[in-house]
Symmetry: C2
Subunit: 107 residues, 2 copies
């Protein structure tokens, strides 16, 4: 069951994890900086960071009592490609939502 496709989506499917990866694409950040940006619970963020580390999508290094997170070059490239596509098909994707909303109105 765990082929490359699964592994890819296991990590990327999560909105917060994807947002973390996008932030780390710009520069290295520590957990508290990520927390401030993403407005998510500390403990929650910590779980997501662990997930990303397990998958080697990001790496950590200690600096005082902070931990600095860094995205891997391969993952950075991947995030940029996916972001590009989401942006490119934004209108198209938003249309999907309109259809869903119309469906809900019918009920």
């Amino acid at each position: 069951m765990t082929d490359a496709t699964d592994l890819f989506f296991n990590v990327f499917r999560n909105k917060n994890r994807f947002r973390i990866l996008k932030l780390l694409s710009n520069k290295e950040l520590c957990a508290s900086e990520l927390q401030k940006e993403l407005m998510i619970e500390q403990t929650n963020l910590s779980h997501d960071l662990k997930c990303l580390i397990n998958c080697q999508f990001i790496t950590v290094r200690k600096n005082g009592r902070k931990r600095i997170y860094k995205i891997s070059p391969e993952t950075k490239e991947l995030v940029e490609e996916v972001s590009k596509h989401i942006k490119k098909y934004e209108l198209y994707l938003k249309k999907c939502n309109i259809i869903k909303e119309e469906e809900n109105e019918e009920i």
Copy 2:
């Protein structure tokens, strides 16, 4: 909460839905043909197809008692790009799995 990123992942995150899109990238297929290829439950497939139709990632047309599914050109391009990336980083993604397995062994 429903921005383009969410919408994108809502559809693409599912393994079966992604496999459907990959099959439809090659040629139009009816549900029973998809079922044979994917080896998934009829009712299950039907639910996934509905999801993809709702999002306009695929379209349907009737032909006798069969329904022929067709991927949209934009989605086809998107699937190809993501597939290309998954293939490119296959080894890298598989490493993630090894790490997870090692973690499990420690327990």
